[in-house]
Amino acid sequence: MDINARRTRAFVTLWTILVLVAIYLPIVCGALASLSKGRYFGFPVREYSMEWWGKTVDSIEIGMLTRTSFAVAITVTLLSVVIAFFGALAFARYDWKGRRLFQKIVLLPIFFPQPVLGLALLLWFSALGIQTSWLTAVFAHLVWIVPVVTLVISIQVYGFDPTLEEAAYDLGCSRWQVFREVTLPLLWPGVWSGMLFAFLLSWGNFPLSLYTAGADSTIPKWLYAKMVAGYTPMVPALGTMSTLGAALALGLGGIVLYLYRRRQAQ
């Protein structure tokens, strides 16, 4: 390796580490604030305690909004993965007349500011006379998350060899058999990643939930309300817990994917 290449490598590595530190710094700050005793945060932390974590876990209100967040995220995951699976086939697998247009239209909601989308949906629901609740929030999340999941699964579909399906048809498989025995197993890693994305994006979503969940509150929505007015150390505590929950989900999802890939490789 010549000196220039080595210098580039050192610079790029250092810069990446620096940016990663900056990215995780605020998350660490939140964790510190949640673990310090006393109502107001001051640094260096004088005394650490789990007091606020305990209070957060015991709170009935927080239990309720955690359940709402879960209900929204699970429903969004299940619905979006089904819709997006077929969407991805249309996006990447089949050659059909409207495909190029379809690809662009699918991407549009991702390229659209979420606060504006949330408000437009709020207006639309009210025009239809629909009372907003966690169910309308599910719908709002779907509008944004289905395109993302479609994209995630599409990347898997691009690497998929359609002649395998044709071979199965030639061997006399029915449409359902081909789907169950060939298409789904081959696309499974993409489907699983798509589900992970759907769950985690819904879990952390704030702008859409803010306007479309009505009287129901999700974790990000509650956190925001308390940040603006009525800070308590339960805010960083719940924020940190929610972050850890997301990390856990991502870790478990990753392990499943890794094991699946290894089993396939054998």
Partner: protein
């Protein structure tokens, strides 16, 4: 699409596939019609209603739009702020993300999947939680201020709730949206082309300018478009880190919809933003081959 191998298979596919593609597209198409197109039509309809009323479809006026383009109104200032923030975010992110994208594509090897997971993960943490972490970092007696005092300085700089802080927050929040398309773009550059250019005596700068940059451009362009569009619609940064010292356009829309209960005005503002973003996005999409970018073989 590749040529089909079996002679009767080709015929069957020609008959079967178009219908299958359309059918597969149907659920997404229905969802986006009901959840994306319809709300946009609704805000367009509302934007022509009498200001401060809910008389949609029963009144027609251009007053809302006239109000936006009236210079005595301060709403143009919000457009200006949002535009400036978005442009600055894109420019800074292009510079910040490029070395990382380059590293993920060329240098990190087996580490690059771990690095990408580390960059993806913050997307799953609500932006208000992460932005609030910055408040805890920069606030009086916060992490920075407290640490500096502890080692004998006068304390941290007073930069919270300033426009610069909002910009920093936006750069921070939207980094992954620049980084990942950029990495996809760089991955599209054939490595032997770079080797060939080097063998022919091109300098590093020449290789970068004549080979790498043009070939990676589709990805870079998507990243820039994505961060620009998200920057135009950003509001959490200005509210949490800006302490409402600056009103951005998405905040104006929100105020019109909530506190001032002026849905027609809010709708008109949303329509202007939508048109701007829509035209820009479709113009950029028109230049891109998504199949190639996403790795169709």
């Amino acid at each position: 699409m590749r040529a089909t191998p079996s002679w009767w298979g080709a015929e069957a596919i020609a008959l079967r596939l178009p219908a299958a593609g359309t059918r597969a597209a149907l659920p997404v198409a229905l969802l986006l019609t009901a959840g994306f197109v319809a709300p946009l039509v609704a805000i367009i309809a509302y934007s022509f209603a009498t200001p401060r009323s809910f008389d949609v479809f029963s009144s027609f006026t251009l007053e809302n739009y006239a109000g936006i383009f009236d210079t005595s109104n301060t709403v143009w200032l919000s457009f200006l702020w949002s535009g400036l923030f978005a442009i600055a975010t894109v420019a800074l992110l292009a510079v910040f993300a490029y070395p990382i994208a380059y590293g993920m594509d060329r240098l990190f090897g087996r580490w690059s999947s771990l690095v990408s997971i580390l960059f993806v993960f913050p997307l799953f943490v609500s932006e208000n939680v992460r932005l609030y972490g910055w408040v805890l970092f920069f606030i009086k007696n916060g992490v920075l201020d407290g640490s500096l005092k502890a080692v004998g300085f006068d304390g941290g700089p007073d930069i919270l709730f300033t426009p610069g802080m909002i910009l920093a927050g936006m750069v921070y929040t939207y980094l992954p949206f620049m980084l990942f398309p950029m990495t996809l773009g760089l991955a599209m550059v054939p490595k032997d082309l770079i080797d060939a250019a080097r063998d022919l005596g091109a300098s590093r700068l020449q290789i970068w300018r004549e080979v790498e940059l043009p070939l990676a451009m589709p990805g870079i362009l998507i990243g820039m478009l994505l961060t620009f569009v998200l920057g135009i619609g950003a509001v959490a940064e200005a509210k949490i880190l800006g302490g409402q010292s600056v009103i951005v356009i998405a905040h104006d829309i929100e105020i019109a919809f909530t506190y001032s209960q002026n849905w027609p005005l809010g709708s008109a503002l949303a329509v202007v933003i939508t048109l701007f973003i829509g035209v820009l996005t479709l113009a950029v999409f028109g230049k891109l081959d998504l199949d190639r970018l996403l790795g169709r073989r």
